[in-house]
Symmetry: C3
Subunit: 222 residues, 3 copies
């Protein structure tokens, strides 16, 4: 009996499954965040779909380029782009009033952050990267799409903004936790989903209770 092989295969399929589902959820969530920011900026439908697609697929494309997986999944498996465009289209047609734009944007962004910091770390581990490197790539995957969105829409990236609640910390926490769980062989579909949910909750609580990181000495809050 090849127990190790069976476990490895199990892990593989479990990991691949979580990764696929997680990536699709994260893609939809980031696409929605991109579409909401586009509406807030009064972009037209083409601009909104473009920004949504770049936000949704940007993190994954950066991740794939970094691990040398070319062409990146987003260019080969067009489900991701389809999910992104449909999600953005629904938001655009629904066209929420201005006072509703802020909170859903933050929630969608938090959901994408949670999903991608887990799947990014898993993908990196599948490619043989070590614990710390996998976690680092998980953070880059989670944060990348939002950075692209904010740079294209000309606002300071959420991950840097001083008037913003902590953003990178939940992603780092989720990516490190995922990497450790993989290292010890405790990772699975449900576990991965729980970590993503914890990151989402962490970010939402940070928004709710205004958890912020300290600024440099002698600088006041903005």
């Amino acid at each position: 009996m090849d127990t190790i092989g069976a476990i490895a295969a199990d892990w593989d399929s479990a990991a691949a499954l979580t990764r696929n589902i997680g990536d699709l959820i994260g893609t939809a969530a980031f696409a929605i965040s991109g579409a909401l920011l586009a509406i807030r900026r009064d972009f037209d439908i083409v601009g909104a779909l473009t920004l949504a697609a770049m936000t949704a697929c940007g993190g994954g494309v950066i991740r794939d380029l970094i691990i040398g997986e070319t062409p990146p999944t987003a260019f080969v498996d067009l489900r991701y782009l389809t999910v992104a465009v449909i999600s953005a289209l629904v938001v655009f047609v629904w066209s929420p009033p201005a006072r509703l734009l802020g909170r859903p944007l933050d929630l969608a962004d938090a959901l994408g952050l949670g999903a991608f910091c887990v799947t990014g770390t898993v993908t990196a581990a599948e490619h043989g990267l070590g614990l710390a490197s996998s976690a680092l790539l998980g953070v880059v995957t989670a944060v990348g799409g939002g950075v692209i969105r904010d740079v294209l829409a000309q606002r300071t990236p959420s991950v840097l903004r001083p008037d913003q609640e902590i953003y990178a910390i939940p992603a780092l926490f989720g990516a490190l936790l995922t990497a450790i769980l993989i290292e010890y062989g405790w990772y699975g579909t449900i576990v991965g989903g729980c970590v993503a949910a914890a990151v989402f909750l962490f970010r939402v609580l940070a928004l709710r209770y205004r958890w912020r990181a300290p600024q440099a000495r002698g600088r006041r809050r903005q």
Copy 2:
């Protein structure tokens, strides 16, 4: 007689020729657009050449990184950079008056858009990507340089701007048409040139007659 082989070789040389010519035209056009924007922003000559080179080569570098062609052509075949620098230098020395900056910038940009959406799609197809993936990469190649130019010069990318006529639609149309022509074996040097010209015309007509995409409900035009 190896007809299929001969056709394939024919297609190869025709495709390679169009690609080379098209890439050089697109490079010169985008370099000019970068130099014009640099002059408008009062950049000095080094800034103008740098912005021109990044605009001209940016889309192709992104394309090559995505299909895993490293180092990207722009870093190996220095004709592209030379063409970009010379084009930008001519514009800089000529130094057009302010009232002439807008229209030539749009025209040069449209020319680059037409050339690159065709050559980007052809390059992707040569690397074995499918129809939809090739068209997608064609759009990214066509739009990429302009996005880099606009982000570096701190203006909202043309592809997203709400006060702008349609930009991504002509590129998507040209890339899809090219991909379909390749799929059915109808692609050739002249056909490719015609598609690029059609995209250029499409974009110029959109500018002339102010064809715009709809914005979200309840948002007025800016």
Copy 3:
């Protein structure tokens, strides 16, 4: 006696040593420049560390993606990220007063520019790129981190700014000199250090004596 092999091995170890030391110095310098800009922008500690890490590792990641070295060194060898984070942390805790932010930022940036234009060129040459391509990649490595820093912090990149002293010229000078020295077999640890120091000095003198490149005809200085 295999003289050529011995020389090659010698060159290899000397090059690798300079490259490692130079990369670490450049990483620390760019991290400091990122942290200083973050403090000036009133970013919190997480934003400052993130901006510092992206500035410090950005140029090298772009370089590695372009030469097809995946995953990029910064994701595998975590010394670079560690050096970046520690350097940024020291700056953040020290928290210099506002009037001191400008000059150290320029000096740290100049130091990073000098170190990275040499090591970027050496890395490219080690990967078999030709003289001009290696120099080009050296410039991209040197300039890349600063461009990422400035785009993320929403200011026009130093390499483009018209109100700025020459920036790309020292980098181009250093990269070309390094590439020529490698071509003729005169490159070594000490020589590389001297070139980096010369680039640093060149940039600092440009800042001190306000050496600027010409703007387009009929445009006045800003």
